[in-house]
């Protein structure tokens, strides 16, 4: 596994794309959070807003670039034919896939952590100016606060799971356009379909199954009883999607000709 990791690391390190994308993940996450924190207002006490969730809003944008990073890392090999060289050099395909996924997960966690910390910092600076003050019941955002720490750590984990999910889907479908469409469709359109359902029981069930809705439930720090799913259970749903996609990709990788 060490050699496979080294090989994958060399491949990722020596092209310009991944580095820029990792930077992009950090920037987009922080920018999205800053925009949300700048736009939200809390005019009076009991305005019912969730400051932590607002501060981590950019994760919903950053995940798009996380998906792009994973899709490019996997599908790039197929479009250039590099995959044949890779598989000849690393005949243990499962190990190769595991190494690549682990590397993507590691890189995403670093970029994600930077993005999430930057988001919280920006939100901590911006939110008090919009009425999120201690008088209105909003102490400054701080990682010393249990729920906020959970939300921040959970958001990083969520981004890692999106990377794994994307790598799995990309390995399964091999074409980068289709993979990108499938991953982003799954992430962004599931919540839309959920809102269109009129039957409330079905709606809540689908909400719990949706990777973005359930996975980002970890960001909620207020009105927790109203959430259809608990924080860690929600992240578990996202993990189940990621594992299923990776298993699917792995099986196809083993069964198919490159």
């Amino acid at each position: 596994m060490r050699r496979e990791l080294h090989a994958e690391w060399t491949k990722l390190r020596t092209v310009a794309g991944p580095g820029r994308l990792l930077l992009g993940i950090v920037v987009l996450t922080v920018a999205g959070s800053a925009a949300a924190a700048g736009a939200m207002e809390c005019p009076s006490a009991g305005c019912g807003q969730d400051a932590t969730r607002i501060g981590l809003f950019g994760v919903q944008l950053g995940q798009g670039l996380v998906a792009l990073l994973a899709v490019l890392a996997v599908c790039g090999e197929y479009s250039t034919g590099m995959i044949r060289t890779s598989l000849t050099a690393m005949p243990r395909r499962m190990t190769a896939l595991a190494a690549r996924t682990a590397l993507l997960a590691g890189l995403t966690s670093v970029a994600g952590a930077l993005g999430v910390l930057g988001s919280l910092l920006v939100a901590r600076l911006l939110l008090p100016g919009n009425g999120f003050t201690p008088e209105h019941g909003y102490p400054p955002l701080s990682l010393a606060d249990g729920p906020t720490l959970r939300a921040a750590a959970g958001s990083v984990l969520y981004l890692v799971l999106i990377a794994v999910l994307s790598a799995g889907v990309a390995t399964a479908v091999r074409d980068s356009a289709v993979a990108a469409g499938a991953v982003l469709g799954l992430i962004y359109l599931f919540p839309m379909v959920v809102l269109m359902i009129r039957n409330e029981d079905v709606q809540r069930l689908l909400w719990r199954l949706s990777p973005m809705n359930a996975g980002l439930a970890v960001q909620a720090t207020t009105s927790l009883p109203a959430m259809p799913i608990g924080a860690w259970a929600g992240l578990g749903v996202a993990a189940a999607w990621a594992v299923a996609a990776l298993a699917c990709g792995g099986l196809l990788l083993r069964a198919r000709d490159a």
Binding site: A179, M192, V194, A226
Partner: protein, 508 residues
Amino acid sequence: MSFRHVLLAEWTKLRTVRGWVAGLVAVCLTVVGLGMLFATGSHSSCSNGPVEVPCPEPVLGPGGTAVVDRFYFVSMPLDGNGSITARVNSMTGQIRLPDATPGVRNVVAGVVPWAKAGLMVKESTEQGAAYAAVMVTGAHGVRMQHDFTEDVAGGAQGVSPGSPRWLRLSRDNDTITGEESPDGKRWTRVGTARLDGLPAKVRIGLFAASPPDVRVESNPLGGTASAGRFTEVTALVDQVGVAGATAGGAWSRDDIGVDLNIDGTPHHPGGLVRNGDTFAITGTGDIAPNTTEGTIERTLTGALIALVVVIVVAVLFVTAEYRRGLIRTTLLAGPRRGRTLVAKAVVVGAATFAAGLVGAAVTVPLAVRVLRGNRIFTLPVSTLTEVRVIAGAAGVLAVSAVLALALGALFRRSAPAVIAAIVVLVVPYVLGTASILPDEVSRWLLRLTPAAGFAIQQSVPEYEHVISHYVPAMGYFPLPPWGGFAVLCGYAALALGLAVRRLNGRDA
């Protein structure tokens, strides 16, 4: 090679790749399939107390729009021309707020902004019959309204203790004129209404109505939800005078559109208390267009998912050429590169439009019928609007395809182009409708990004004189239908222009 030949060449490329044709068929099937799934899976049940009853059909106004026609009407018959004058002295009322303690009604005194009381001429006491009215409102001063959708502002001052307001409504054949006065002597005209085909015999009288108090709450499932709660207004009116052939001039009372409880008593009844010449009229409900039922474009849910498929196909239509090296042959055969790219855009746009049009044209009428069978009513719209919604849905897909194609030509690689297209087209719409963002930010997202194009699917307008939950999530867009579509077209044209420049300036 003429442009026709380039078009033909591009069309041949598109139709001979099995995956792309399958994608376009999938676009059509997704629109139809999800629309039908949504329609067949939706049922409505209406209950009266513990008993389930068939859901009432929405009332239609004179113009065929669905309307709410619920108010208290104290009227007498009028044959031919005539007029009514009265002085509104005060408006008081009550508003039900969200329960502070669960299960305990939380009612406070107050008048909602569009609570209304005044004078009305109405064709009959049937719900939905044509009318014209001049009225004092809770917070919007004097208004002249007719036939539910029309509203003209008069003086900005309402009534308050010590400052009453005189109103007069006169009928001259089909023309109804509303006037107001602070003292009953100096009159100002508020507006006139033409009620075409108004019969000679009409009802003329006093009315009161008070629309529900609409509150928006955040929805834990995403976006916001609204709830309308009961309100009531009581207007004190005196100095009532009716001129014209009124056949004896006896007042009759009608609680227009009242629902009956299971035991036959009226639910939230209005009423009239006469004390000498003073009328205390109490009413609830509204006389306005219906904004609560679903709209026809809600059946086009599948179009958003189809959009992702369209983006993938359109991007591949150009990036696949780069991957396979076919682009060099293409540019050799058609050396005018800009023309070749435009031909590609025309082909992919037209093919997408056709696929989307078939899908939408099948879905909308069929799903509306199925929904109707399930006792869910959609707001009726004119044929022209329906055509605009259907063609608009296909148009959004087609123009998005052109935008995605241009992004593909700019990036030359599939994944960045697909993600960029989804981020500018789908993500703003998703964040604008299903996230925690405040409504104003959602509106800006749908003004400035290419997702503004979805506005072309909006079938019912916002009404200034009805408070409703007018947000993108409910299908109300910040830009007018064609304005929003123009924004999307502008982005597509800009991207295509940049792509042509890039293609001309760079080696393939």
